[in-house]
Chain length 419, copies 4
């Protein structure tokens, strides 16, 4: 865990972390043309410009306004333009129309960032001692929020670019791993018994990771690596998308209605397959983990393979045993890699667990309580982080969640089975 998430962090250290993490958002935009900042390819995928503004609004709304006396808003309408979904705070620009905001310009949004960064730095240094613990906690939340949007930035941009027939590369210089055989698939046994899951220790965690509580596991096994493109191709070639009995009813209806025949970014070129990546189109590598998969597809694949998807407690138990390292954002591959283990990073792993409240879950009062709790319906939990997740953002207890139909995020498959 990075220092800024420790309860003992100093003001100086937090200020440094703040500026460093804030800077990472800007650095991620460096390869963009001004033209790219406003793309919105679907309601779920926000424009880069909006991400930059929204995370700044978060600090302005939840830090500067409550903690700085008479803080004047940078712009009287930004609270409307850059609110995402916090109804308690007020109304907001409808999500599907974020791409219509040509104004403020990119330049003005960077000015907004600079203004808020300066005010934040001053606040961290100068706030009264009595406020310091609350401030520190809130800044930590804000930085985790910013890191979440850094992840989303990559996922959203990939989707935006994928719909441009020119298929632009976010970065044309991304290294491509050498061709390799996939590792043979092995299994890790998980014993029956009562375990505890949920937030542990006093470091930062989202509210949805608590309360820590006992849960009972029946015996199971987990695959020791992610499912590969090659394995998924077998499923396709075996008619996986044509056999109704492999699919959940909602999944079958969804793939029929949308004409899905393969993962989101696969492109059939005659007899060859390509995959669209943040480095542009590449030949599909059979040993690389299959990515950009919906829950429906992950579940159908598992049924075809006569396995199932892991439960979130099974994965958390395994993650808690292992070092927090892997193909995360920091290597900047920006794509999953062939390999083994792959517990952290590479791809968010779909679990068979719907996203619900843990026993004793209690969201904070006010708008911050809208952060996680109101999404506890119709979504599934994913675990483990992916190739665009900042390392300092993860924990074993981290619960990501998406709708079963979603697949623009870096999602993948780890098989499991009952013993």
């Amino acid at each position: 865990m990075s220092d800024y998430q420790s309860p003992a962090v100093s003001r100086e250290r937090l200020r440094e972390d703040f500026l460093r993490i804030r800077h990472q958002s800007v650095a991620a935009c460096r390869p963009l043309a001004i033209d790219d900042y406003q793309l919105q390819s679907m309601p779920e995928a926000s424009p880069p410009k909006w991400h930059l503004g929204h995370v700044t609004w978060f600090f302005e709304t939840f830090l500067l306004q409550p903690f700085v006396r008479d803080y004047p808003a940078f712009h009287p309408q930004f609270h409307y333009l850059f609110n995402s979904y916090y109804n308690t705070v007020g109304p907001m620009q409808p999500r599907p129309e974020r791409g219509l905001l040509s104004r403020p310009t990119v330049e003005q949004v960077y000015q907004y960032r600079a203004h808020v960064d300066a005010a934040m730095a001053a606040l961290i240094e100068g706030c009264e001692e009595a406020q310091w613990p609350a401030l520190r906690a809130r800044v930590t939340l804000g930085l985790n929020h910013e890191q979440q949007h850094q992840e989303l930035f990559y996922m959203d941009l990939k989707h935006h670019f994928s719909l441009n027939p020119l298929r632009p590369a976010y970065r044309a210089d991304l290294p491509q791993p050498p061709a390799a055989e996939a590792a043979p698939l092995g299994w890790i046994d998980g014993a029956e018994g009562l375990i505890e899951i949920g937030r542990a220790g006093d470091g930062f965690a989202y509210d949805n990771e608590g309360a820590r509580h006992p849960t009972y596991l029946t015996p199971y096994r987990l695959a020791d690596r992610l499912t590969t493109n090659g394995e998924y191709l077998e499923f396709i070639q075996d008619g996986g998308y044509d056999q109704a009995d492999l699919w959940l009813a909602d999944g079958w209806a969804h793939i029929q209605r949308n004409g899905w025949r393969h993962p989101l970014y696969w492109i059939e070129q005659g007899e060859q397959w390509q995959e669209f990546t943040l480095g542009g189109p590449r030949p599909l590598d059979p040993a690389t983990p299959v990515s950009h998969i919906s829950y429906y597809e992950a579940d159908a694949f598992a049924r075809w393979a006569d396995k199932r998807l892991p439960r979130e407690a099974e994965l958390e138990r395994e993650l808690a045993r292992r070092p927090l390292e892997g193909n995360l954002h920091d290597p900047k591959a920006l794509h999953p890699r062939p390999g083994h283990g792959q517990w952290y990073g590479d791809l968010w792993e779909w679990t068979a667990s719907p996203y619900t409240a843990y026993p004793g879950f209690s969201p904070p009062a006010g708008a911050i309580g809208e952060y996680n709790g109101k999404f506890m319906c119709n979504q599934m939990v994913l675990r483990g982080g992916c190739c665009v997740t900042p390392q300092a953002h993860l924990r074993p207890s981290y619960r990501n969640f998406f709708y079963p139909r979603d697949r623009w995020m870096f999602s993948g498959i780890r098989l499991a089975e009952d013993v």
Copy 2:
């Protein structure tokens, strides 16, 4: 549990049960005009005629065809018209178009029933001994299936009639309970610990009730009766439908999009409220349990009341302790009643548990495996049966499931809380 579900049931007894349960479907239709049999008010709600045909098709397809040598289908296209969702068996009439089947006529559907009933009675009596256990099990499944559709018949018909501006009564002679005060709300404590849930014993149960398995409960309390119309009205009058922070994000979006302001069958008449029932419109009774509530509304009400909905294991534990009796189909009130306890009957109780596979869940091979398993996504579990559930159809481990947006079934609210 009724005899027909016992592994020791005799052929004679099963034949009698078969004919009795089959007859109940016909008896339920007695108050209908021919004109009513074909109503389809929405894709989810099937016409009475279709229910009558479909349950018959189930016996023809899963009993007569596999168990009777050279059984000739009653009609070469009924397998298409009356298949509901069994893709393994073949294609089917699209669900939203069941109301377009003016042919076969009602009369022909009754001929179909008579034909299949006779063949089934002969099969039960005459099948070879070696086949008897398999036959008995499959007939039991078919009868449970028919009972499920008997329940649906009432729910669907209520919806069909509700959209007719004449607001017809299914039965004008239904007794209306005398006005009464609601019982004060008490609480039942549930202790922490490891319990077992799922199918118990060797009687009939659906595949989704297994495997029986341990689950850990943290301490909780359950309300000792259902939430009443009067209590729900307070929620409305307190602006419950206008406060975004009481709602799940998907629920808020749903009530906005559909303009929901009250339970499905409430009708505002000036300053008074009426409720549409199977006996036609009635003044809203404050002491009667609130019914025809979506999960979104149940969840919002619970949040407003500073409580939560029960988990399915909590309810099952309580149900397993209590006699299987209540306001079920047999009293033929066809509407919930004011009261106390209300563990079985009155209304299906929304739980906070998404409908997922139990550890060790294993659906049978073939089409029968489509019965329950493929719906294990996006739906929530409801427990306890309702005022149109046949008593013999229920068990403590019975898991009903609907989408969070659904509310045309007899659904209601029991509050719970963590201790």
Copy 3:
């Protein structure tokens, strides 16, 4: 023109005509099962029961209520259930939900008819002399209205039945014409010049047929028969549905979106084509006029043939010269027939003329003014009647109108060209 449309018609004669025409609606329903009366396969196609009720409502609303002192409505809610689109009269059952009216039952609707018929007969006989001209005119309108719905009855029923996989025949005993060669296509020349079109004489006509007015025609030619199935099949086999440049932009978008590849009721059976008719499915006869064609298809066919569709003035001029006879309702073929001329009957002929107001068009005041005028946008004129049009209902100046996408009515193609 039938007597009842003459300004000199006697009371006795009008009463007889009234009862005769009213009876024809009932007679048309004789082959139906009760089950069929409530079918609504799409919003545009109303159930037989609703047609029977609506035309009766028309007499109750526009005759009995204004002309009979203290006339009590047969039922207090029928004005809501059976109003079609007369906003001036009050709100109405939404058109897409006419199929949900299982009540009133068919029997009750026939009681409604009997009640209104008796009251109407008494009114015709007994009304005061001063009211007689107004009454006579309004009854004539009501009878024309009923005849229009008799036509619609057949078109709607054909659509309802076509969606039933059993493909029921409305009448299994309909004669099928012997196989024949199509007549060779000849042309009728139309000279340049100023002509008059619109209602002529003092017989009944709808308001949209006036005012009679001059219009200038440039020289043209009209085909001397309708386009046949065989000719349309050539268009299909030549890739007509795949060539964007043959289609209007809206037509091309429409056939893409809906996957149209052939006329509405054509059924491809291996290498053979069948056509669904009111007598059930039949082999496609190449010499029979192609029917159930949208304007988009008629227009694309004409472009493919290097011709165009006629203007309505061109067709009216030709119709006015010819005897009002043909394959209309009275022969009761209920299907177009191979032949020559085919000016009246067989199929409504699409014209290239949008449905707009003639110079001097002036609808009557009040609800009756909603009859025709408010549809003068987005629709095209069709001329000449069809095989289910009552002969007494037609005139040379008769203007029918449908949306370019519509094709459930008996519509066909007559080619034209500039000279």
Copy 4:
């Protein structure tokens, strides 16, 4: 008529006109930020960047490729990205997704323009004499095409900006006319008789303006100015949007479904009305012509006023008598102005005439034939140009056309009546 449209224009003059008109597209973009170039607020309204690219593609596709031997395309995919609707030429970027083209960047589109401009200038100077007449005609078409998109640029941009809560001004310095009384409404009589309409002389005209042909007019009168905001406000205040009998059936359905209560760009601020303009929001001026009105609204207003809309022949006759001058693009008001006459400019005037082929209409072969003809269905003709129409682009016979529901263009109302 501008010189470049004359058949006698010299090469030098055409080259100058070409460069001048091309430059006007660039000049119109000068007030934009890069951020603005990619806005697409609805499928019908294209981004500025796309307009710039598309008009350039038109010259590349229809001039450089056919007239320059071995002309290499500037970019191999621009034919796909910038084709609008010419199916004959090949597939194209779907219209609703033009806003997703962040690449090519604005800079690259300007390079594309420069490249094509240079090649075009060389072609005009250097083409062989035998090709000159065909080239000249095609360049003239291309320039008219570019001018049409210059008009659309303003209309589309106004719509894009209107959806930004910041309500940006395209030009903050636009002059606002001084408050004035509206001129009293007078009437111009039009005599009965046969007239000729359609393209006249040998100057440029679109194919849809031919053939010139006789048409017969019954006596009528035309208002001598456009309907004002003040007059339209009376219609609103008189409940115009609540009275079904004022509306076409399709119009009534449309305003209900979309919740329309006023013209597109009116904004209610307490008791005051504002109007969004290319200069930002302004107080609504009662004397200014009401603009951004759908056909449905124009027609309902006329019915409320007991008038009708003009036929296109009536307007063309009047336009042909008058000097081609008015509040067009050149004064650069970019908004209608109070006044009198207003025959050319200010607002495109809805006519009661559906857009159909004139007798003898004959589109050119090939893709150019798709320019106008395929839209001759479901749209209405508008006449007279507007405040963003280049003066050199208009003619008395000019036929603009839009769907009855459209209102993002500068459209307005001139009343008419039968005499």
